[in-house]
Symmetry: D2
Subunit: 155 residues, 4 copies
């Protein structure tokens, strides 16, 4: 008997850089990189977000989907979708980014809660069968990340 | 006949990290570093702001005053004082930072206009007699900056 | 009809960091990274050699063999095997390194000539069937390299 | 009563990048940066030597003399003057570099012994009166170094 390791579906209240809403269900067959960040988190801005951009430029879209997730769990009043839009413009981020759905009475938004993330940045990989395969809080090494992504692409 | 090269006085609507408002007039006798930035400007976050912090840690306060200036000239609706306060907290910026005074009908705030800055980040040095001595837009080299500051301190 | 793309065998006059001489023939079944360098080549020391060390630490030995190749094509009188041994010790390089065999009357050593390398550093990948799959002169991106290596490991 | 803090004279057996031998005595009136290094010392190659080159480019020659000192205290058989000459060429080092004089029966060369240096890289500053003012083993911060040099230049 094996545990159900299907990655929880994304709960997103607003999308940027995509004409249509994105679901993990619709991405079956492709590997997925989820980059959870906050626009005023220094480690996200210095490392996580530029790395997601590098990955987005390197891999073919039909092999890997790169998706940002704005998981605001503090300072909600200033890290608004309007502020995020400016951030994405100024940092020239072109991959799809979703706003993780706020939950009444909980500072932690819905997707962040479903994945039990520790903080930001958190990088997650989902394989072509929709299973979560990696969840790493903090800085991730480029060499190791390139290898892990290709492992999922080639399975 | 020589031109008046006294640095324009700061026009600041709100201060952070200081109990009392700061004026260049009151800083005569000390060298001053002014670091003009916007909290969502990538070059400011990557280079200008960390450099201002390094300078603030290195020099004695009675030799050099390090002052940040939030010169918002675009996206005014999201780069508010409330957002700036979160930014300063998250990036652990401890030197005084003033909000450059907004001007009705002009996207460019008052001090930025008075100094004719080209954009952000801009680094300026003011000598012990209150005269502007350097104004550089973009990235500034640490080695050259250390030397220029000490030149003003030792005059 | 397809061209023979088997990677040329290594011609090595002296080995470091390995008890037995290494041949590509004996490595069939494993992917191989060849890092061609000169100990006094600035780009090799700054980028290529540290990258080879990072790769060596990341991948399992039975998946990937990392092999350095000291391809001296200039200043032969000072980049001797004795000097190389000191270099490997000081830079704490622990993967096997071979001295590319000098050829009388030719400044370019035998393996460098066989692979038609342009200069140093040059990074090459050989797949599990012994075929050359990548040859890149100059700086190589970590993310792309991690992916290319895993592609060969997973084939 | 104050101690004699005159910096010991350089003991150099061979010079590169200068037509005439250099003495500290002849440099009275200028500040001097001495950069002691070994060509196969990783910290020297990664940090010390490039920093000496940056300093050499930034300051006027009549304000500051930048002098490299090849203080070989290990692996003497491969860090020869002939090997150093190739190193200076490959790394495009253009400031004067002297070979610290070897001493029979002592692995430590004469100038390194006279200055009681701990290892390489070591950076030293000598003021316009010929007095030693700084001696730092290991990595030196650019901002602090720029300031310290200008302090000596302006005294």
């Amino acid at each position: 008997m094996t545990a159900d390791v299907t990655a929880p579906e994304l709960a997103v209240s607003q999308w940027f850089n995509t004409a249509e809403p994105i679901t993990l269900a619709a991405l079956r067959g492709q590997a997925v990189l989820l980059h959870a960040f906050q626009m005023l988190c220094p480690g996200c801005v210095a490392h996580g977000t530029p790395q997601a951009q590098r990955v987005h430029r390197l891999f073919r879209t039909d092999e890997l989907a790169v998706i940002g997730l704005h998981t605001v769990f503090e300072h909600h009043e200033v890290m608004t979708p309007a502020a995020l839009e400016v951030f994405l413009h100024e940092y020239r981020i072109t991959h799809p980014v979703g706003v993780d759905t706020a939950v009444a009475g909980d500072p932690i938004p819905a997707t962040m809660r479903a994945y039990a993330m520790q903080g930001t940045p958190t990088l997650m990989l989902v394989d072509r069968q929709g299973r979560q395969r990696l969840k790493q809080f903090g800085r991730v090494d480029d060499l190791a990340l390139g290898a892990e992504i290709m492992r999922l692409v080639k399975e």
